[in-house]
Amino acid sequence: EHYEPVFVGEAERELEELLTHYPTKMAALLPALWIVQNARGWVSEEAMTEVAERLSLTPAYVKGVVTFYTMYHQHPVGKYFIQVCTTSPCGVCGAEDTVRALLDQTGCGELGATSPDGRFTVVEAECLGACGFATPIMINEEFVESVNKDNVTDILSRLP
């Protein structure tokens, strides 16, 4: 299949501007991967190669970095990628019930699975840094606080 490069037009200009922020090209790697993921929804092997060429790195090096971090998707995910915090502070405030309600109501059934309609993927996350607003979840780039088993329906129904 033909690969369409990410770094053309606006994305290319964004990368050039980013390169001016750092004394090395390598330092633009995490930001470059973010540009890719924002454009494509995930980071494919071809995209890793493109990033490697742009930053004078090897594809293997880029892959080693991608796999270290939890936020880069190495596979396509549901239209709505939902992360739910289940670390202790949220756990004692009902995070397990929130997870259950999300799995049931999205049709995902289990953690990490994508719903049959391809709309949702629900995963557990470690502390999202909003423990006083249990349970926080992230729907793609949107941060939602104070989610519980009773307001899940409402939150999901607002998604286009």
């Binding site: 936020m71 289940t86 670390t87 202790s88 004692v92 502390c127 840094g129 909003a130 423990c131 949107e142």
Partner: protein, 437 residues
């Protein structure tokens, strides 16, 4: 203030004064509230004068270790001909901690101003604000504020028209608790895997990009402008127990408590009043059982210890714990401590960067044993094994993540041993909870 609650008159609102005030997010709104006067003043002083003011104030790092900030800054050698860097640690991922998030969401210019002053004081022309990738709103707000600050010439190649260069860049992380460790953060910033580095060399000698670097927490830097405008004596006077702990401190409060949120109090505030008066006590019909007062990496306190604590660096140590990051996690009498400790161990197992054997194996092994005990399948020998594994995990690795995993385990077994034994003897969780979430 106990955002999102109304401020309590016993709080001291310095850093949190404008939490919830959307106008304070804009440059215009911030200037109306006295913003950037401290930077203006700072740029008229020598770096040494600034370092001395900060030293005199007694300010200590708010990221966890409590290292004196002025002293840290004084390690940076001026005139060595090398580029210097300031790294702002906004990775905030320690369970229980969510104060830096509020500083960035509501008062982004406070952080830019503090970072610019810090950069100038250590001879750096560039400050990187490393924000965890999950903080999408703080990233947006900080990004917009940095743009405004550049457009107004407050930072950049001619900061406030002084001819001094101070660049400020926001750098987005990508999900990894370990990147909050200072040298892991520098590796991550450089475009590498976030593995902590062996020290020495220390960052002040060879940090980001191999150059002299200082790293500070968001809250530490946000306090600096106030110290410069109101003076070190004013700051130092906010100290009610140990003279070695000064200033105001944001505490994030979560778990089983009536009013979770952020509260700002002066060092030495009584923890008992804090928990019951400011935070409203336990949820209705419940009693407090235990507190982890400084983020998940510090020892668990019994309520006797917590209620006898004066909230400062020395006060928490005197009562069997540490101030840490100021993330207060409260457990009530409906919670199973074994289950919670097992979940925390699982957190560390998940977050270990796996460079050191004791950490990689120890975090995974202790998690398995704890989950087994919680499921009613543990033995009394397991408790000894947990304690001896914890011992091997402490003081033996490149960074202290390994120690942090051992801390709740050891303090948990020592202070709540009866709960562990009840699981083992009764072959089930006496509270009906199950470990596997």
């Amino acid at each position: 203030m106990g955002f999102p609650h109304k401020p309590n008159p016993r709080e001291t609102q310095i850093l949190s004064r404008y939490f919830g005030d959307a106008e304070a997010r804009t440059l215009e709104g911030w200037k109306k509230r006295g913003g950037y006067r401290a930077l203006e003043k700072a740029l008229g002083l020598t770096p040494e004068e600034i370092v001395n003011e900060v030293k005199e104030s007694g300010l200590r790092g708010r990221g966890g270790a409590g290292f004196p900030t002025g002293m840290k800054w004084s390690f940076m050698k001026h005139g060595d001909g090398k580029p210097h860097y300031l790294c702002v640690n906004a990775d905030e991922s320690e369970p229980g901690t969510f104060k830096d998030r509020e500083i960035m969401r509501w008062t982004p210019h406070a952080l830019i101003e503090g970072a610019a002053i810090g950069a100038y004081a250590i001879g750096a022309e560039t400050a990187y604000i490393y924000i965890r990738g999950e903080f999408t709103e703080p990233l947006r707000v900080m990004g917009a504020a940095v743009k405004e600050a550049y457009a107004a010439g407050l930072v950049g190649k001619n900061a406030m028209g002084t001819g001094k260069r101070i660049d400020v860049h926001v750098h987005k992380g990508a999900g990894a608790y370990i990147c909050g460790e200072e040298t892991a953060l520098m590796n991550s910033l450089e475009g590498k895997r976030g593995n902590p580095r062996i020290k020495p060399p220390f960052p002040a000698v060879a940090g980001a990009f191999g150059m002299p670097t200082t790293i500070n927490n968001v809250e530490t830097l946000a306090a600096v402008p106030h110290i410069l405008t109101q003076g070190p004596a004013w700051y130092k006077a906010m100290s009610h127990s140990s003279p070695k702990s000064t200033g105001s401190k944001l505490f994030s409060v979560c778990g089983n408590i009536a009013k979770p949120g952020n509260y700002e109090v002066e060092m030495g505030f009584p923890f008992k009043d804090f928990l019951y008066d400011l935070c409203g006590g336990p949820p209705p019909g419940r009693k407090f059982k235990a507190v982890i007062p400084g983020g998940s990496s510090v020892p668990i306190q019994t309520m006797e210890e917590a209620e006898a604590t004066m909230m400062d660096y020395e006060g928490f140590i005197a009562q069997g714990s540490m101030l840490g990051s100021g993330g207060v996690i409260v457990f009530d009498d409906s919670q199973c401590m074994v289950k919670q400790i097992a979940r925390l161990a699982r957190f560390y197992a998940h977050e270990s960067c796996a460079q050191c054997t004791q950490c990689r194996e120890g975090t995974a092994w202790t998690t398995r044993i704890l989950e087994r005990i919680e499921a009613g399948k543990g033995t009394m020998e397991d408790l000894d094994t947990l304690l001896s594994l914890s011992k091997n995990m402490t003081g033996t690795t490149i960074c202290v993540l390994s120690d942090s995993c051992a801390t709740p385990i050891v303090s948990g077994i020592n202070k709540f041993r009866d709960e562990f034994e009840a699981h083992i003897k009764g072959k089930r969780c006496p509270m009906g909870a199950t470990a596997a979430a």
